[in-house]
Symmetry: C2
Subunit: 113 residues, 2 copies
């Protein structure tokens, strides 16, 4: 349960909110300013800022400020721990199903004797 775990919690939590997901989708299209991101959501700036903080702390976006404009961009690599975790889970239950298959095959073979 190392930092690895914390990362995943941050990631999943960041992705659990529809507003944040739609912001991510928008950023997947193209980088954008905070105000541009706020527009479609219909939320107030401070609220959107909070969502952006969550996304940034999860590492899903990166932001930089130029003058008074903050530009946000997606960080595609940030999704990979999620994929990795999903793959791990899948590997575990697939291995189990394989063993189950083997067991069933064995039973059938025994029956055949």
């Amino acid at each position: 349960m190392a930092k690895h775990d914390t990362d995943l919690s941050l990631l999943f939590h960041a992705l659990a909110d529809p507003t944040r997901r739609s912001i991510l989708t928008q950023l997947a299209e193209t980088p954008a300013r905070v105000t541009d991101l706020a527009g479609p959501t219909g939320l107030r700036l401070p609220t959107v800022m909070r969502h952006l903080s969550v996304l940034e702390e999860a590492g899903l976006i990166a932001t930089s400020k130029d003058g008074r404009v903050r530009t946000c961009a997606i960080v595609p690599e940030a999704f990979s721990p999620v994929r990795t975790w999903l793959d791990e889970q899948q590997a575990i239950w697939e291995a189990r199903l394989d063993r189950l298959d083997a067991f069933v095959m064995n039973v059938m073979k025994e029956r055949g004797k």
Copy 2:
């Protein structure tokens, strides 16, 4: 932003908790009773029950009661909306990067004239 969206929120939220993820991992190995799941967590039964409810409402596990024992099992297909969403996002930003590539190539070609 239909039910699809709600599903994703439920899924991501369910996955955002370390306890719930470790329960899922345990269930990926093999189905288990509530008490068996509670053991490793060190949490009290009612607390674990709550986590199980969250997982079940997200569709990640299925449970059935036989006598006084409730057995929980993972639902592997339940993960697929997550994968699908990740794939969609990836497709979007990959398309963008492709366009960017094309643009750069074009600029270089123009320069070559």
